[in-house]
Symmetry: C2
Subunit: 184 residues, 2 copies
């Protein structure tokens, strides 16, 4: 099998957020997609080890911010390569509370969605949450970041916990890469 | 709600095929995603009214071809705006049979996947099939067609049965558009 064939699937790049009580967290994800239009529902795939997974499971609500092409790598790194168990990812980030109580990230967003979980399916390391959209907002007219653009142009990385991770053989002279935790 | 916020989600463009006995069919889809990497699994969302849905349900196998940017609209129209109940969509199209017996479309493909359904979830008008990848192949080094490119550059249409369909108000002087059947 040529597993790189899977790299040809197309995605956007998102911050998915949720809450547990009055605690907030969010993470980078590339697997957010619309499933039905009437009523509008989306599916979001989240790694079961992630704090955001725990929060979505606890509260049954989530928000999605579609990131723009200009999103700095530092912003993606904050939400993608750190754990909310170690740091408060939302500190210093512009967000507002939606009607579900989930934090909706405004920084670098092209559009935002807010949704309530109506079904879920566990698939190995990940869970697909299906959620009905209860809020949708256009934030800016900037161009959206595609997952391909993130890799090809921004030279972004994919951590081992991502669904689309494929191990690359490290150059013999390079030091072993330190374990990272994008955890989408 | 600004439902156009949902249009900012990013997708590729695919032909999803399946079989029922020795009959084959395929359709255009934009919702194909990798869910886990170990083992490699994908999720595919298909409209429950579609013949391809019936075939996937019957055989439990499917194939996905990632379309290139140069894919002609006539090819997309063949798989997207016609029903396999009326025409043999694969007539004259280059394909080969995979190990699952599903037809794998080679024409206009950048890469191809073949998969066996391991789980499913019904969500209103659509079903999310989760399938383990049993074959993956890079076909060409052409650029993949994004759903955004299909709409913005190729001026492609989305039929009412698509998950991402949002009705547009027709110009007053224009004749009513004839019902179409992309049925992703």
């Amino acid at each position: 099998m040529e597993l790189k064939a899977l790299h040809k699937l197309g995605y956007g790049l998102y911050v998915v957020t949720s809450r547990k009580g009055d605690r907030f967290n969010g993470q980078i994800a590339n697997t957010v997609f619309q499933i039905t239009s009437e009523p509008p529902t989306i599916a979001v795939s989240i790694n079961r080890q992630n704090l955001t997974w725990e929060y979505i499971t606890a509260s049954g609500v989530l928000a999605v911010s579609v990131l723009c092409q200009e999103t700095p790598l530092s912003f993606i790194g904050r939400f993608g390569f750190k754990s909310g168990r170690d740091v408060d990812k939302l500190e210093g980030v512009e967000y507002r509370l939606g009607e579900t109580g989930a934090p909706i990230i405004i920084d670098n967003a092209v559009s935002c969605l807010e949704a309530k979980v109506i079904n879920r399916m566990d698939v190995g390391t990940h869970t697909i949450f299906v959620a009905e959209v209860v809020g949708a907002e256009l934030v800016s007219d900037r161009t959206c970041m595609s997952y391909d653009y993130y890799h090809q142009i921004k030279r972004g990385k994919t951590p081992p916990s991502a669904p689309s991770y494929v191990p690359e053989q490290a150059p013999r002279t390079a030091p072993r890469q330190k374990g990272t935790a994008w955890k989408p």
